[in-house]
């Protein structure tokens, strides 16, 4: 579905992503874990063209995405839930959802209902300004907004960021639910434990490189991963 | 050791420059445009550096420079017009109320001090504002000062909206160079002192600077007052250069001009500001003037399009090009220095021994 080959990203002199390759098979949940600053967000952002990849290729269903402007990439069936939610604070929940379907010309009602079904909370709050939502609700809105474009593949950058553990669990439930409905998911998480449990496939990133990969279960058992990301080395 | 050689080099360079000026003055006729440009360039260099101290080194976006120059210019003018000329200058105000004159250097310093006092008072309320809001507030203050100085009721002091004139002017091109040079040197020394470092810290990150124990309000005010002091002095010099002054000269357009010079020279580069002010003045007042002449012939070819005003169009286009193609200005944040040049050539030589010169920006 999505195939990344030898991707490089740098900011000025700083190399954030170095020669990474991975792929995301259709219908799966794939996770990318790694420390702060490892280059996970940079990877996702370069896939949707928010930062320019220096070299390498990004293929979506065989089609090259590198060099295509962001607003066109997102019409091809891939979307990103950005780090830190980034909802439009002075728009209502409903408007935020509508803007998620900005580039679509067909009727929105069906999708709106789909999102409202997934997140009944949003339906209750459809007239509230997004800026006044709680963190967890904002995260739901951000995911819902991304779903409005009817993506085949959705990338989420740290959806659990800034959320209470209970809300985090809720978010992961939703991720599984969306996936069940046929959406492919690429998940970037700090919360490696939960991410790996939810994922079919996992990659570990360290200072710009992918150092490990395997199924979620394999990685969960990997000693290095345990030591570095699961905080279990000492126990 | 190394520091000492650097100082010697710089002092040598400055003395050399003054010597060249001195010789130039002996060689060229005094009416030459060269001197007009050099004089005005030196004055603008000073005010540009003082603005750079604020905008470039302290990160305070202020647009009040013209106002402080006005204060300096008026203070200078009011204090130096010879007593015997006052009756004719203040013709509508019975000779004005100031009936003494003080020596030129004192008056220049007084101009700086008056500007600094005003800056202190203005700074109390407005320095709390951020970025664009600070800019527009300082611009506003400059406009208010201008209006106040045009006020009839202050006429006995300011001559209302009329010209002040007959005060001492430059005799030699060396004068503005020496005064501006000393002032710029002081600013550079300030920038290199611990206070200068604090200013730069504020520019880079106010919150972190404050967490490092740097009192924001105090340091911002300090930068503002010092910058205005030198703007005031340059205002006095401008008065000397122009031989007449009037509040209506010090419009916001003047501030924009200075800002252009600062940005074109490179925000945060003192030498950039100096170089660009000479280039700017030379371009706007001298080199391009031939474009205004509608019968310019090259050989027997009548150059088309030329007529009054074309010079300014070309000038504006040049500015646009510089802004679009040199985003960080001519010098960026770097400084022009002997070392820099030496390094530049050393690198050049190492890399490609054949190509030489011509590439200096």
């Amino acid at each position: 579905m999505l195939e990344v080959k030898d991707l490089n990203v740098s900011y000025g002199g700083i190399k954030a992503v170095k020669d990474i390759s991975f792929n995301v098979p259709k219908g799966e949940v794939v996770t990318l874990i790694g420390a702060n600053g490892a280059g996970k967000s940079s990877t996702l952002r370069s896939i949707v063209g928010l930062v320019k990849a220096e070299s390498g290729s990004i293929l979506l269903k065989g089609e090259e995405l590198r060099g295509v402007p962001t607003e066109q990439i997102v019409t091809k069936g891939i979307t990103l839930v950005p780090e830190g939610r980034r909802v439009f604070p002075d728009m209502t929940v409903a408007e935020n959802l509508k803007i998620g379907a900005y580039m679509r010309k067909d009727s929105l009602d069906e999708d709106l209902n789909w999102v409202y079904d997934l997140f009944p909370r949003l339906k209750e709050r459809s007239w509230q300004l997004a800026g006044t939502l709680s963190g967890g609700e904002q995260q739901m809105l951000a995911i819902g907004r991304a779903l409005m474009s009817r993506p085949e593949i959705i990338m989420m950058d740290e959806p659990s960021l800034g959320l209470a553990p209970i809300v985090v669990r809720g978010v992961f439930d939703i991720i599984r639910e969306i996936n069940k409905q046929g959406v492919t998911i690429l998940l970037v998480e700090q919360n490696a434990n939960m991410a790996l449990k939810a994922a079919n496939l996992g990659y570990v990133m360290e200072t710009g490189r992918i150092t490990l990969s395997g199924t979620g279960a394999e990685l969960l058992e990997n000693e290095a991963v345990k030591a570095a990301y699961l905080g279990k080395a000492k126990k | 050791m190394k520091k000492q050689t650097k100082i010697i080099w710089n002092v040598g360079l400055i003395l050399g420059l003054l010597l060249v000026l001195f010789i130039l003055e002996q060689v060229f006729p005094s009416g030459s445009m060269l001197f007009t440009v050099l004089k005005k360039g030196a004055i603008y260099a000073l005010v540009a550096v003082s603005m750079n101290l604020l905008n470039g080194f302290t990160g305070l976006f202020s647009l009040g420079q013209a106002g402080f120059m006005l204060l300096g210019a008026y203070t200078y003018g009011i204090l130096t017009i010879p007593v015997e000329s006052r009756a004719s200058v203040y013709q509508y105000f019975d000779g004005g109320i100031v009936q003494f004159a003080i020596p030129v250097p004192l008056a220049l310093i007084a101009g700086g001090i008056v500007a600094a006092i005003f800056a202190y008072l203005i700074g109390l309320p407005v320095l709390r504002l951020k970025s664009d809001y600070l800019a527009i507030a300082t611009l506003g203050f400059a406009e208010i000062i201008r209006a106040v100085f045009q006020w009839d009721k202050l006429g006995p002091l300011t001559n209302g909206s009329n010209l002040l004139r007959n005060f001492p002017a430059f005799k030699s091109v060396l004068y503005p160079f020496i005064v501006a040079g000393i002032c710029i040197a002081i600013i550079v020394m300030l920038i290199n002192s611990t206070y200068g470092r604090a200013f730069k810290a504020i520019r880079d990150d106010e919150i972190a600077a404050e967490a490092m124990g740097i009192n924001l309000a105090h340091h911002k005010r300090l930068a503002f007052v010092i910058s205005s002091f030198f703007a005031g002095i340059s205002g006095g010099l401008l008065a000397m250069y122009q031989t007449t002054i009037q509040a209506s000269m010090f419009k916001s357009a003047m501030t924009y001009e200075i800002l252009l010079i600062v940005v074109i020279g490179g925000i945060g580069s003192v030498t950039g500001s100096c170089i660009s002010s000479f280039l700017f003045i030379a371009c706007s007042e001298w080199w391009l003037r031939f474009l205004d002449n509608d019968n310019l012939y090259i050989g027997s070819f009548h150059v088309p399009l030329l007529r009054a005003g074309f010079r300014k169009v070309v000038f504006a286009v040049i500015i646009m090009c510089v802004v679009l193609f040199y985003r960080k200005g001519i010098m960026g944040e770097k400084e022009f220095s002997i070392e820099g040049i030496a390094n530049f050539f050393r690198r050049k030589f190492k890399k490609e021994k054949v190509t030489e010169g011509g590439a200096s920006k």
Partner: protein, 283 residues
């Protein structure tokens, strides 16, 4: 008001509009201790730091440093109507004390930031040197005309020494932002140390560090604490670091302290497990 407290936070409430970020917080830190503040994201930890360091004036409450009241406020102005925290009347009759952050730093409380805030355009060395500005005795004239040669030399020498201690001498002329993440963190701590603090506040110092670096950081903090005779107050999510180094831990949730105790007590506190450490999922 015992004098052995280096820091005492009393009934601090911080309310932004309708959001109560810190809710009636009380805590004490004794000399020489390393105390950690943990809690879920958005619990108000950074806000608490900001109140202590003068970035925000609290909506209500008081703070004491070495027995002296340094911060005090009560709901006033618009906040008077809006205030929903506790003890609204408690400090009403008291004097408002709201020093700016630089005053607090001058008292001897230094801090680092959650999102690294180095002086971007300055070299590593200059970043430290800037922090020495606070300790100057020269005024703007003497400094400009370089009449403070001795002091300047001392500032430089001290900065140099500090760089050596934190192991950044080899990169002293690099731009601060060009350093790798871990070293930037270290530099930020060194810069805070340059102000010669007695109390050091660290906001997530290990964020962005891998386990190895975290380990090094643990040692580093311990080392500087001893060398500079510091008291450390730290926000951190890395439990390894927290549990290893802390003498005591406070846990904050929704702005309220929900637990306080030794690492061992905290590790086994069911409330903390539920709100922060994570329950069954984790094991």
């Amino acid at each position: 008001m015992s004098t052995e407290n280096v820091l005492k936070v009393e009934n601090i409430t911080m309310q932004f509009g309708g959001v109560i970020a810190v809710d009636n917080m009380n805590l004490e830190i004794n000399k020489g201790e390393i105390v950690s503040l943990i809690g879920p994201n958005g619990a108000g930890k950074t806000t608490a730091f900001n109140v202590i360091t003068g970035v925000y004036a609290p909506s209500n409450g008081a703070i004491y440093y070495k027995g002296n009241k340094i911060v005090q406020n009560h709901p006033q102005g618009k906040m008077k109507k809006l205030y929903r925290g506790e003890n609204p009347a408690m400090y009403e009759s008291h004097r408002v004390l709201a020093p700016t952050p630089d005053k607090i730093t001058c008292l001897g409380i230094a801090r680092t930031f959650q999102n690294i805030r180095l002086f971007k355009s300055q070299t590593v060395f200059d970043n430290i040197l800037i922090a020495k500005h606070m300790l100057r005795t020269s005024n703007v004239f003497t400094a400009t005309f370089h009449l403070n040669g001795k002091e300047e030399a001392r500032m430089r020498e001290e900065s140099e020494r500090l760089l050596e201690i934190v192991g950044l001498t080899d990169v002293r002329n690099e731009l601060a932002t060009s350093l790798p993440y871990g070293k930037q963190r270290r530099l930020e701590i060194a810069r805070a140390l340059a102000t010669k603090p007695e109390l050091l506040l660290l906001d997530e110092p290990a964020a962005g560090m891998n386990p190895q670096e975290t380990l090094e950081l643990t040692e580093f903090i311990d080392e500087i604490r001893k060398k500079f005779d510091l008291t450390v107050f730290m926000i951190e999510h890395h439990m390894d670091l927290v549990m290893e180094i802390s003498d005591r831990i406070y846990v904050l949730d929704f702005g309220k302290p929900i637990a306080e105790g030794t690492p061992e007590e905290i590790r086994n506190n069911p409330k903390v497990i539920e709100a922060y450490l994570g329950g069954a999922d984790d094991e």
